[in-house]
């Protein structure tokens, strides 16, 4: 009640501010240029869709969507030239948001490439599919640049609703509808938690702007309400990144959703949600975050890896693996802000490269109706399709964390951030878990190389678009594994900028100097 009144009190002020201010200057539009470009192309896809018959629409619409993402990538360069805030302090362009813009748009582009063949094989209508991917990407982009909790919430909804629908696109298959509905119900429940947290944070600090919240929380006088708000927001975001104990939806949803969509939603919205988490936890300096994250990270790693050990469906296996990776990533959030933020940023990129690649292989191999997704179907793939098997092995190696892959450096930076912050306990849990994790990825490799192929599983040649998507992922994973320096430098520079005044841990930040 109190909060609603408080909110109502501040509304007139906000409205007055809006009315008084002149229309936003042109530079403001430059600061959301990628979002604008993506929206325009999204609408273009929807407009062109009815003009084409279903046969020819796959190629044409996919190409429009791809051009849209490439244009958005180009416009991100442009956007980067205009650092600063826009639209009455709701959006901020800085190294951090530019990084995540690149990441999620690139993910969308690769996923679109890997969908060309998939949609045709599964007989899925392309118009809504590509449209939703583009609109979802708008939401993800906005999540990374918004510095106003309400706008973050709206962006989160834009990206979530698109993925709810995308998950149900294999409508001839009951498991896909199950996936969509489950994701939708649990997802809305979780977003409600986030919204509640936003409301409580507003009650505690009197603002929904990250900077203003950060000022109040750093002043040393932290209201109890802020702790509750942090916890509630963490529940909402924890659901989005699939960290334990908010992970139970993941295996079912990943199993039912179309494979390329899983590639998207296990990386894109996840990266965006991690961006929000970085803003809320580090930039806003959320209080009491340490143990929340510690427990969630330890649980995610352990549960994810242990459950993955017994999976026989490759999509479910990768679902549990993504829970485990969310855990590895959360370890970085328990570390010192500047170190942790840069490690987390690098991890999202490396994880995106290898996981989108892995799902691109799975999508190609699944065939009509996603018939071939069990571990047995991969038997002897090394003999029947050496190149596909070799690339899949490479992605799995990266997921294990073997050197010269991006996954290795991702884990490496998280581990070194943890050790530099004296998080010995979490570091040990991480090390033990990576060892457990090696086993189930290895099961797939063993299947592909050391078992005899089964006759009935067909192997079709990889079409150009999917091949290009997989090649891009291989190259990026390799690049991050051999020359991680540039990406990491950029990440740590923008991380420093993000947390410039959180470096010294205060009692209020809830960050103990050493792990008890």
């Amino acid at each position: 009640m109190i909060m609603i009144t408080a909110f109502a009190h501040s509304l007139p002020g906000l409205l007055a501010q809006l009315q008084a201010s002149v229309p936003p200057p042109g530079a403001d539009y430059m600061r959301i240029l990628p979002e604008l470009v993506l929206s325009i192309f999204g609408m273009l896809v929807m407009v062109v869709d009815p003009l084409l018959d279903e046969e020819s629409s796959h190629q044409a619409l996919g190409t429009i969507a791809l051009i849209g993402t490439l244009a958005a990538l180009a416009s991100t360069f442009w956007m980067a030239q205009y650092p600063g805030t826009a639209f009455w302090n709701m959006v901020r362009v800085e190294g951090f948001s530019v990084y995540f813009h690149f990441l999620v748009i690139a993910i969308a582009a690769v996923v679109i490439l890997s969908s060309y063949e998939y949609l045709a094989v599964q007989r899925i209508r392309a118009g809504e599919y590509y449209g939703l991917i583009l609109f979802g990407t708008v939401g993800m982009c906005l999540m990374s640049s918004a510095i106003e909790l309400v706008l973050i919430f709206i962006a989160l909804e834009i990206s979530s609703i698109s993925t709810y629908v995308l998950a149900g696109f294999r409508r001839r298959d009951a498991s896909s509808s199950e996936s969509s509905l489950k994701y939708f119900l649990l997802g809305s429940f979780a977003t409600a938690f986030f919204l509640y947290g936003v409301a409580l944070m507003f009650g505690a600090t009197g603002s929904t702007n990250i900077d203003a919240i950060s000022q109040v929380l750093r002043s040393g006088n932290v209201p109890v309400l802020a702790y509750v708000a942090t916890a509630l927001m963490f529940v909402g975001l924890g659901f989005k990144v699939a960290s334990a104990p908010f992970h139970v939806w993941t295996p079912d949803v990943y199993e039912g959703a179309p494979a390329p969509v899983v590639g998207l939603m296990s990386t894109g919205p996840k990266a965006a949600a991690f961006a929000v988490l970085l803003r809320v936890m580090f930039e806003a300096n959320a209080p009491g975050r340490f143990w929340l994250i510690w427990v969630s990270a330890a649980l995610s790693m352990t549960l994810g890896n242990l459950c993955a050990l017994v999976q026989d469906n490759v999509k479910r296996l990768l679902a549990y693996s993504s829970i485990a990776h969310a855990g590895y990533l959360l370890v970085a959030f328990a570390a010192q802000p500047a170190l942790g933020a840069s490690a987390a940023m690098f991890y999202t990129a490396a994880y995106a490269a290898m996981n989108v690649g892995a799902f691109a292989v799975v999508s190609h191999f699944a065939n009509a109706g996603e018939k071939y997704v069990t571990l047995e179907d991969y038997a002897g793939l090394g003999r029947r399709s050496p190149v596909l098997a070799a690339t899949f092995t490479f992605f799995l190696m990266s997921l294990i964390g073997i050197p010269i892959t991006g996954g290795f450096f991702a884990k490496f930076y998280v581990l070194s951030a943890a050790l530099k912050s004296n998080l010995v306990g979490l570091a040990i849990i991480l090390v033990l878990n990576s060892a457990v994790g090696a086993y189930y990825y290895l099961r797939i490799i063993v299947m592909m190389y050391m078992r005899e192929p089964r006759g009935e599983v067909p192997v079709t040649p990889v079409p150009a678009a999917a091949g290009l998507a997989i090649a891009v992922c291989v190259l990026l994973t390799l690049y991050l594994g051999v020359l991680p320096g540039r990406v990491l430098d950029y990440a740590s520079q923008s991380a420093r900028q993000l947390v410039s005044d959180t470096v010294a841990p205060t009692a209020a930040s809830g960050f103990p100097a050493t792990e008890p």
Partner: protein, 505 residues
Amino acid sequence: MNVETLSPFILSLVTFIPAGGGLLILLIPRRDRDIKLFALVISLLAFVASLHLPVHLHREIGAFKFEIDKVWITTPNIHYHMGIDGISVWLVVLTTFLTPLCVLISWTSIHERVKEFFILLLILETALIGVFTSLDLFLFYFFWEATLIPMALLIGMYGHGRKVYAAVKFFLFTMIGSMFMLAAIIWLYAKTGSFDFVVIQNAIRSGIVPGFETASLWLFLGFFIAFAVKVPIFPLHTWLPDAHVEAPTAGSVLLAGVLLKMGTYGLLRFDVGLFPAQAHRNAPWVMVLALIGIIYGALVSLVQPNMKKLIAYSSISHLGFVVLGIFSFTTAGLNGAVFVMLAHGVATGGLFMLAGLLYERRHTYEIADFGGLATPMPKYATFFLVTVLASVGLPLLNGFIGEFLVLSGAFQARPIYGILAATGVIWSACYLLWMYQRVFFGKVKHEVNSTLTDLNLREKAALAPIAIAALVMGVAPLVWLSAIDPAVQAALAPFTQLASRMVGQ
């Protein structure tokens, strides 16, 4: 070519010739003969190039030779830093020496997926050489892990019997062990800001690493577990018999000949090199484990009905000598340990090759299936005898020198260790000669065996280098020891200081 102009590149050249050749094989069409020939040429090329190293190695104490140090990644501060000393130089040569023999021995035994086999073999060679040449802990870890995949694939794809089980077990044991090493490496990096072996060593010696006193035991153990799995030290050895028995011959040869030495080399270079005080403090129980390994390995060998398993367990016993020698911290012990590494690589590699040749003919390793083989296969029996005697430690063959030095080192450290270890020598004579007797002497027990063909030219070409090396190393060990000794002295320097400090107290 002028020696000075070659020196900066020679290590990179030796390391990457095999992998480069492996990649070129990708381009060769699937004609098995061409692929085999090409692999042989590449591996011989690597061998010739590696001979440059011992020939031009300056044999003075300290400092690494043929160093190359280039920045690879700036954040974190990772260098492409390679260099060798008198210890690693011979391990590099051992690797390049055994690989061409592996190619020869696989000529007819591998007939499926030939292309992949030789690519994996050559990539494995590069990774193995890299382990011995790296001086940057990160680079070392990279090569260390890189050996894992080709080896596991060689076992899993070309092995026999329970090959998948063996491959996965091998992979997981090593992987889990090395995760602890990685954590220790990252700790060192976090505190010193460098991965460079020499820089870290100096930082530790001058005592400027914060928190080192409390962490050093854990760091020592982190490295130790990774290496102990690889050696393998009792009780972490259970992967070894499985991996050996199921692996293809070439895999077994490299596994016994070189991969196990990665463990002992790591113990010597990194565990002892970086944490001498902890190594000294923990030496008693490590030596006890080594002794258990020597005696347990020998006793288990004695009762093996399977020839390959017998040789595998004998490796555990022999590697126990190496560990014992290293942790005796005496000049003789360390020199002996390094020499045993080389001798064991040659002799046991040879034994696995011989066992593999028999398997090709009879598709079994069971000792009971043979008997009286000396009659149909006299040349084979002769080669086998030489290799067995080398492995047993007959004077004038290579096994003797190393074991003798290790034993004298162990006696200096503590006489009871020497006495117990000496029984291992006797045991090894028992199980190897008894096996030899059952396989070769007497009448031909099974009719099939009387028609077995003797060695052909290719097989003789593969075995002759082993016999010659065993003999030369036994007659002129100083060629090897004169290079090993200065490196060993450098490794021992901290221990003489430790000892004098203790005497001073």
